[in-house]
């Protein structure tokens, strides 16, 4: 599988209707700080699992706070 990009992750966030304008998202800032609440975050994790056909255990969630962290994580799971 080709490398997952930050644009793809942002696309997933956009399709999940979690934020009004994905162009405003900072890649190195926590999504919580950018207004994504706990339910939306659960929805995002579900969308990531579905889109990239991966499983994200609860234990891994703490390390998935920013878009950059998610990109690295998803790529590691897709290897």
């Amino acid at each position: 599988m080709s490398k997952v990009t930050d644009e793809q992750i942002i696309d997933v966030i956009g399709k999940a209707n979690i934020v009004k304008d994905t162009s405003m998202l900072a890649k190195d800032k926590s999504l919580t700080e950018q207004g994504i609440d706990s339910l939306d975050f659960s929805g995002l994790l579900f969308s990531l699992e579905e889109t990239f056909e991966i499983e994200i255990p609860d234990a891994d969630i703490d390390g998935l706070q920013t878009i950059n962290e998610i990109v690295v994580y998803v790529n590691s799971k897709c290897e």
Binding site: L39, F46, E49
Partner: protein
Amino acid sequence: MIGIEQIGTYIPEKKVSNLALLEKFETDEDFVRNKIGVLQRSQKEPEQKASDLCIKAFTDLQAKTTFEIEDIECCIVVTQNPDFNIPHTSAIVHGALGLPEHCASFDISLGCSGYVYALSIVTAFMQANDMKKGLIFTADPYSDIIDEDDKNTALIFGDAATVTLLDAEASLIPLGFDFGSKGAGYKGLINKDKLFMNGRAVFNFTAATVPVSINKLLDKFELDKDDIERWYFHQGSKYIVDTITKRLELDKEKVVFDMYEYGNTASSSIPILLSSGLTTFQKGQKIGLSGFGVGLSWASAIFEKM
């Protein structure tokens, strides 16, 4: 054909405000209103048991329709918070209402999928035994098992009860059902000393399962989503109802949502909503139901107004 004739409901007058708990749970009104969808939760009195709530719902049923108690041939209670482990709560309800001795009584231990399961079980039971009138009660008073300091559950669940009168000459009848279980995930929603919920696990289960169940039913009866007049999903939270609506690409206007003033009432949520829609259905209209949660378990159905 056995179907739904009338529904009585009971939602306790006592309410606990979620807006008063925003600071405690470090949340805001937008989250409580637009994500959880619960502004206040109905709460029974501490001494009230499931059977007491059932009896209140029965009083409401009697106010809505006329029938003879002697004619009731079965009394079923859907609950996972029974008055006692022994005996079954339906026996207590049977005795309190003075139902006849020839009336069969049993409980169904299911949570949020319980009402839809019960509609299938009880209509089939009545059909097989040539019964004309039966009652399905739902009552799961979660206030007894909620940890008031647990944000995952304290802002969601409310107490209520309902009773559905099934009648052999009713005009809202089941076309078909779809059921299922993911028992491996049972720990996602479990009561040990207090109720525990893994919100993410329950969300994932629901988002992945309910749309598939609905589509299976539509395919089975060669129906299109637009053929369904109204959708009644278990009111788990606004977020979950919105997620199902989005994933099935349903017309939002056709999806009934109303839990703002009383909360998630487990197996009572669908019959509470149905009770206010019953008289509005026109001949030939179809409605979709789906309950899901504890187990992890789900049941969906399509009903038609004849």
